[in-house]
Symmetry: C2
Subunit: 885 residues, 2 copies
């Protein structure tokens, strides 16, 4: 016969899969000789067998429960249903992974009318007994019998009102007795049957209900969200009740072995006298600091602290402990690793490693990479009172305060006058980038996590809230309304990009810093990781930040961002609109010195480290006036007939813009296709790069430029462009009489490039996966369109489990990458391969990048610490998996 | 020592690779005892060795030439350079594959001043000798010495004018002698040296010149265009001269064993008395019909006919023969398989198979699939008298008649007024595409086979002639001149895209039809092929045509084309703009009966054959008014303030259109993404399909609908949509009380679908490769943008060797397809897999489809015959390759 039930001193405390987390903890504490009320665990296997058996208990399970119950009766000297000395139990769920509040628990099971009377005899505490009884009926009714909980709540509140009770504690024993009667009536009315009086029947029903709760909707949703498999099942723990509500020599509490908010090494907790566990959690009464326990019950306190230390040492992690004191005796009800803030997680991990409790590897693994993200941005002072007026998507973390402005031009203007501004737009487009850079933060009413605003904001490290759909922007009146509030241009607002909140007025912010603990943790991480961490940076100031955050190179410098700046855009337009190659070259000649200075700046900051500079990539019409606006102007000029000269000019410009328009610019004339059809741009850029590098080298620096040719899909594209540009590079070095280290390589962002990587590697010294574009084309999703139009539906319906623009799709996009790495390296064993694009900062994607053997991942500077930690996790987890094999 | 030189009786006539086509033919004829002037062949290996050896003869070659020359002297009894009995030779190129006119030939080599005199002694024909001499200097000067040919031509014409000679034959021996002298002066002046008098020196130079001509620009271009490898090299044939210009008992001609235009089995040829070969080709004198030879020289004629028959039987193909009669004796100079029209190719192949000369398999392989394409387009009535005024490149097949217009706008305007127009432009650019679509055909003065005009015209299936350089277009005066003709805007012209001809005025056109011979050939093809041929058809009339042309199923019925019809579009718009699901359903209910009739029509025509119906695919905004037009209207209404009500309506519509606009509609909300976000469309369509099928089945038909879900990229999309729609299907069948055979399947057109085909096949009963979209996304090329904006540059520069939208890119797109077939069938062994999209009609792509084991290829009805033949070719070539292994 299979063993379905384990007494707490029987089970293997390390077998969390079988006993669940709670059961394993109770077994551990019991076996360590700690004061745990006797009880037993019904295994997760029993739960799974229950589901396989059409939701009936598997053979032998109930018999084993009865047997274990007998043993508990023997140990406690109490008997289930015995009026003279009754055993009461709690029935608690407990799965392998903690799913707080998702599944059900029943307390005080074993009570019935007779037992209640006996218990009163025994305790001489009628109030306590009826309070316990009414709680039992309420919980059992709701959880086991499926009666809507608010029927009980409503009746309870009505009764309190009737008798003029303000707090629950104002209720007398008689009151509670009457409530028991009212609750039993509710059960009768709702189920058509009396409340079950037979304790074994209660137990049987409660165990089934806990099994069932494994598959309630919120548990399934929780598992989906946290990626917990659905086939693990939950264990059920049956534990002898101990009572914290037996008077003021009793009580209940939770404690942490270290401060879960700061990580400080000090015993921390909350406690309530004369209460049951749920009172602490429910927040009806304000719990006391644990110090009060020390004062009132020093012996119990000391015992608790000692136990806590023992548990922390045993589990080698900060513990979250539940305990009850029953008439002066301490009982341990649960221990588990405690949840903690990011700051605490870092501090605890580093402290424990330095205390010698855990190794540095373990310390690194204890902190989730995404957790530290919030430490790297300005935050709202947690002590501040705030008025949240709207909520959107937390698109780029950090908080910002400033005056609301409604267009990018004004944002720049005000910012130049020293004002702090928040740019508020329905959505943003490339024209707004200058204004976004000038602003403290960005707020949009539309768009998703990968909308233009979100992507650019993350790129430039500005706090950003997108898709705050409740705000109604009126661009004409220059204000937005949200609920009853109106925010006019110039009014101060605060946004919290970490939470998605929009807040009225100014709020005190606290500056981010790499705390010494975090720096230490990251320096340990660097020792373990195999992947390098590079950063995407378009300006010297970004490169500087990246280096401070530990970047080992620049994986992507987007030269076109430099083109958008106000002093350059007119020249760029001249170059685009030029009718001859000569005209174009003349315009580009003016850009050359400017670009050279840009490149010099970045190469200087990154002295000695590789800097990948991508040649001009976006469709040229992005640099031209917007078609619609131009069209509107032309139509207006035509109708009014006011200014024939302006009309002629605008018409000419409109014609050129129309010539350059594309049905699907994402798949149109951009990337290396530009370089092939209009080589002058690339030539100017390469000249600027190499003049910059040569000049720096003469000044004693060690520049390492790597020229990246974008959007290659066929080896011949790369061959033609590289040959032409390497000629320019050599010519510049000859002119300057000096040589610099350089590489030529390509983005792998078109599926065909990945599919023919073996050929392409013949002409590429490096590959950089442009995972954004590769995802777009592999899925056929236009990022600009997908998020708002169907991707959210896909995520909602579970068609996709992740947004592939945030976490790499390993089956499709990843498969292409794996092929490309393998075949590229077969051609060129020393091929340098990395990721640029937001995936380079996403821990799951970094894990994958590690697995397929990339050299580096590159992401925005602010995510570099996250990525460093993720890279270390990847390496350590691989090592672990290897050890486990 | 390697053997570089073979006498005609030494070489292996089957080794065309070594001897070249001409050399192999001469060897064959010599060895068959036919009268061939003695000579020898220098091998293609020698040519390749020459290039490897820095353009010097390889070791031993020249010695072998001298030795072979001695043997020729022995056999002819003449001696090279011997004044008393001189040997003259021709030096002719001859590669493995015929490259007509691309490489060089020198005649009468061995002549010099002394030899000329001797020859006069010998022949007593001074005029002949000086004519031969001046031809030799002229050809040798041009080809071997590199002197511009027009220097000779001009001098010749001036001399003729001076002496008042109208025809060449008006020139006397003295005239010709003087011309020899003038030509020698030209040589002296241009090269600084005397014309080389030493025959062996002449021979050495001429052989080198022929080798060099392998790599002249036009030869390289020709090979590129015809995909002939560049490393084959050319052989050089040195042949004893025989003279057709030794008087009126001499002559020269070409003959075909069957009529190369119609394929009729009759001896066919042209002949000139007293002439050398080039006179026939050059068209200076009008050649006589071969019948005249029969009359004048019956014995020679009979001998020729007998030889022709022998050659055709030996080569088992229609032969193109060159011969010369020298003083009544017949000499064979060349035999090769003759070029022929498509019509002739079909007839000859079928006739020869029926005559038992070749097998049916060979007959099928004799006709290139693309060749019969021209039989399936409108052609100029062969009996019509036409005035060809210019010739360009045959860029897109078929003939078209219409009024010449000189800009795209006017083309659209006139076409809207019901005029048929031919767009005439110096060249086209992306702005002209609208006008091209509106025109019957396109004519350009500039550009090659991959120019913008050519690429677009083939894409839209319009006849097109490009690069007709002799037409001089005057855009201001709106006319073109060509020779003495002037064509003004509005004048009618005809273009023949199959031949490249430009014809004055209207010409009767004949509609394409399947001739009995072609039908027979295709029926044989059907016996050999493994792939099925299906067709893409949106309407019953197309399905009817497809069936006539041999389609075995409908691979793609695009339901949305039905949506565009005038009576339906308003209902479709209602459905799209509906604000609630109910509103949408109400509109769709009106469409249901219409769609049902559409489907009934197609399923009825295809009774018993599979019909794949694709659910709604394109972005919905394609059905709405165009954004720009609407915007213009709104702006105008706003400025004028004339009609506030209309303004409000238009503004509302504009808002909706703007909401639906997408940055990259190709990658946006379309395909199954529509079905998931707006399920009502799909549900209506599936209901229409199954109601149609059930009703037809009740009428005794056997409908086989297959429902295709487009743009799937993730298995869950298919799972969700299929489950929902199969429910609808089952419900309809239940309502109707009848069941029909059906399948549910998906397009594989998103790269990710191919990469995860193993999963997707769990829910798909068939895969249909949407190779157009798959190409778009795998390359990252928007077809709408790429063709006109950069693809033509890529083809011109040789970055791509083919337009991937016309011929499948096997390395990238094909690799994905191969993975998908393999992994899909691993999941579901009976998975039905095919191609829909224009690649299904492209012979190279069909070969690939055969190789990777598809079940069928589907293309437009008019290409089905081509595809049938190509499918047979694929199967037969595979068989051949297997045999050859």
């Amino acid at each position: 016969m299979k063993k379905w039930v384990y007494l707490f001193d029987e089970g293997d405390p390390n077998d969390r899969a079988l006993l669940g987390g709670k059961g394993a903890g109770l077994a551990q504490m019991t076996q360590a000789g700690l004061p745990v009320p006797p009880g037993f665990t019904i295994t997760t296997e029993a739960c799974n067998a229950y589901y396989e058996n059409n939701q009936k208990f598997p053979e032998g399970m109930w018999e084993q429960v009865l047997e274990a119950l007998k043993e508990v009766e023997r140990r406690t000297g109490k008997k289930f249903g015995d009026v003279s000395n009754p055993l009461l139990v709690s029935v608690r769920s407990g799965a392998k992974f903690s799913m707080p509040g998702m599944m059900d628990t029943v307390l005080n099971l074993g009570l019935n009318d007779e037992v209640a009377k006996g218990l009163i005899q025994l305790t001489q505490n009628e109030r306590f007994v009826y309070d316990a009884y009414r709680r039992f009926i309420q919980l059992f009714g709701k959880i086991v019998l499926g009666i809507p909980g608010d029927l009980f709540d409503k009746a309870f509140e009505e009764y309190k009102e009737k008798v003029g009770a303000h707090y629950d504690t104002d209720l007398t024993a008689d009151h509670l007795k009457e409530i028991v009667s009212i609750f039993k009536d509710i059960v009768k009315k709702e189920t058509g049957k009396d409340f079950p009086q037979e304790p074994l029947e209660q137990l049987r029903l409660a165990i089934g209900a806990v099994f069932n709760s494994w598959n309630n909707k919120r548990a399934i949703d929780y598992r989906n969200y946290h990626k917990i498999p659905h086939n693990l099942g939950t264990a059920v723990n049956v534990v002898t009740m101990v009572f914290g509500n037996m008077g003021f020599d009793s009580g209940t509490g939770v404690a942490f072995t270290r401060d879960p908010a700061t990580g400080e090494k000090k015993f921390f907790g909350e406690f309530l006298f004369n209460a049951q566990g749920e009172d602490v959690v429910a927040g009806i009464r304000t719990p006391l600091k644990i110090d009060e326990l020390k004062e009132k019950m020093p012996a119990v306190y000391d015992q608790l602290v000692e136990i806590a230390k023992k548990l922390e040492n045993y589990y080698r992690d900060m513990q979250d402990i539940e305990f009850t004191v029953e008439r002066g005796k301490l009982w341990m009800l649960q221990t588990r690793s405690g949840k903690r803030t990011a700051q605490a997680a870092v501090k605890i991990a580093v402290d424990m490693a330095e205390e010698g409790i855990i190794s540095k590897e373990e310390a690194v693994l204890r902190v989730e990479p995404n957790q530290i993200n919030q430490l790297l941005h300005r935050q709202i002072d947690p002590s501040a009172k705030v008025t949240v007026i709207a909520k959107g998507l937390n698109a780029s973390p950090g908080a910002a305060t400033g005056k609301a402005v409604f267009d990018a031009e004004k944002a720049k203007e005000w910012a130049q006058n020293g004002e702090k501004v928040i740019l508020v737009r329905p959505e943003t487009n490339p024209d707004d980038v200058g204004g976004m850079i000038a602003s403290e933060g960005i707020l949009t009413a539309r768009g998703g996590a990968t909308s233009h605003a979100a992507v650019v904001a993350r790129g430039i490290g500005k706090p950003c809230v997108v898709g705050a759909e409740s705000i109604k922007i009126d661009l004409e009146k220059r204000l937005f309304n949200v609920n009853s509030y109106t925010v006019k241009e110039g009014d101060i607002i605060t946004i919290n990009g970490t939470t998605g909140e929009v807040i009225l007025g100014e709020v005190p912010l606290i500056e981010p810093e790499l705390t010494p603990e975090l720096q230490k943790l990251l320096s340990w991480a660097d020792q373990f990781k195999r992947l390098q961490n590079w950063a995407n940076a378009d300006y010297p100031r970004d490169a500087q930040k990246a280096k401070e955050y530990g970047a080992q190179g620049i994986g992507l410098c987007r030269t076109e961002h430099m083109f958008f700046e106000a002093d350059r855009l007119p020249i760029v337009r001249q170059a685009i609109l030029a009718k001859t190659s000569e005209e174009r070259k003349a315009a580009l000649d003016k850009l050359l010195p400017i670009q050279k200075e840009d490149f010099k700046g970045i190469l200087k900051v990154m002295d000695g480290l590789p800097v990948i500079i991508r040649l001009l990539d976006p469709p040229l019409h992005e640099f031209l006036p917007r078609h619609e606006e131009l069209l509107a102007e032309v139509i207006e000029l035509r109708i009014t007939g006011k200014d024939p000269k302006a009309l002629a000019e605008k018409e000419e410009l409109l014609k050129r813009v129309e010539e350059m328009r594309e049905a699907n610019p994402m798949l149109g004339l951009r990337g290396c296709r530009l370089g092939i059809t209009r080589p002058e741009f690339n030539e100017m850029q390469v000249r600027a790069i190499f003049e910059a590098a040569c000049e720096l080298k003469k000044e004693g620096y060690n520049p390492k430029p790597e020229v990246m040719i974008p959007l290659v899909g066929h080896v011949n594209e790369l061959k033609v462009v590289r040959e032409q540009l390497e000629d320019v590079a050599k010519k510049v070095m000859e002119e300057q009489g000096i040589t610099v280290d350089y590489k030529f390589g390509t983005m792998i962002e078109v599926p065909r490039a990945a599919l023919t990587a073996g050929e392409i590697a013949e002409y590429a010294q490096f590959f950089s996966f442009g995972t954004n574009d590769l995802t777009q084309m592999t899925f056929g999703y236009s990022r600009d369109d997908a998020e708002g139009k169907f991707l959210f539906v896909y995520l909602e319906k579970g068609i996709l489990s992740n947004d592939p623009f945030q976490t790499l799709d390993t089956k499709g996009v990843g498969r292409l990458m794996e092929m490309a790495v393998k075949e590229g390296r077969a051609t060129r064993p020393d091929l340098e391969v990395g990721i640029c694009g937001e995936h380079g900062g996403d821990p799951d994607s970094i894990m994958f990048a590690h697995e397929i053997g990339l050299n580096y991942v590159s992401c925005s500077p602010f995510r570099v610490p996250v990525a460093r930690l993720a890279a270390a996790h990847a390496a350590l987890k691989e090592k672990q998996a290897f050890r486990d094999k």
